[in-house]
Point group: C2
Chain length 145, copies 2
DNA sequence: ACTAAATACATAGCATGTTATGTATTTTAT
DNA sequence: ATAAAATACATAACATGCTATGTATTTAGT
């Protein structure tokens, strides 16, 4: 008896699926004036929350410089506003602008649409299994990084 | 009885897992002088094959301009060589350089390592299920794009 | 034969993410 | 009290991938 070779296509599959999902979201978000990378920011600030960059980066699961440039683009596009925290001048307090707040209302319905399409042909059980296994793989990968 | 809400986290999970996998591969490839985006090219040309850009783009599952810039960087770094097809001057025949060929030998073992780490804690059955479900989701997404 | 369509590749401009590094500001330790 | 460490954010340089578009070259239609 010998150990079965690990499936080599998993990396390709994971990155491809992620890319396809991003593309689908871009398609749906574009008409609404939003971009895929902005989703976590809209989700975090969508009820008028005021949060700092560090929190947003962790929430989005990206590094700090990535969030910094994302927020710079969103500020440029009038989606967010920043204000220095008077209690700690290193921190900037970030909130959605009225326009950003309005746009953010469409995020959840759009995500629902996209998820529905992604899960087309899946039973609820298959859906739950995929989620669970992906979460476990995600954790495994995080642990060895 | 009401329909269960579709899981909204699937997009985040898919893109995050893909990104984490890419990061892991980068870590392993860097010491060997390779980058994550180059993997499909190394796989396609690793036995001395001579292929054109269109084929490589399809093989890698990315758009043509993406492959064009990838190949430009790989040529810059001495990993590939290009030659115009004499039978059709639009086509460029692409092959790995001796250095690229040598480096490509390490791709499969590195992919095996990464897959092993990604699947840590998975039973063979779970592994197969994840692959199958991801393939199905990938197909669903491709269909609606 | 010759124009029009198709094909292969290149380029521009951008978004997203990464690592590496710089710059203020605040906290900690002596 | 002050020097050192930690923290929050910004910037630089880059890879990867996208859409839109341009440029040859080849193929097809008349």
């Amino acid at each position: 008896m010998r150990t079965q070779a690990p499936c080599l296509s998993i990396g390709f599959l994971a990155t491809t699926t992620g890319r396809l999902f991003t593309r689908l979201m871009e398609q749906k978000l574009k008409p609404a004036g939003m971009r895929a990378g902005q989703i976590p920011v809209f989700l975090a600030l969508g009820k008028g929350e005021v949060l700092n960059q560090k929190y947003l980066a962790e929430f989005a699961g990206i590094e700090q410089p990535g969030m910094a440039t994302l927020l710079a683009r969103m500020e440029r596009d009038g989606l967010i506003e920043r204000e220095t925290d008077p209690n700690d001048k290193r921190v900037s307090q970030i909130r959605l602008t009225p326009d950003g707040l309005m746009k953010s209302q469409k995020i959840i319905p759009i995500m629902e649409e996209a998820s529905k399409e992604a899960f087309k042909g899946f039973t609820p059980l298959e859906r739950d299994i995929l989620i669970t296994l992906l979460e476990r793989m995600s954790s495994s990968l995080e642990r060895c990084l």
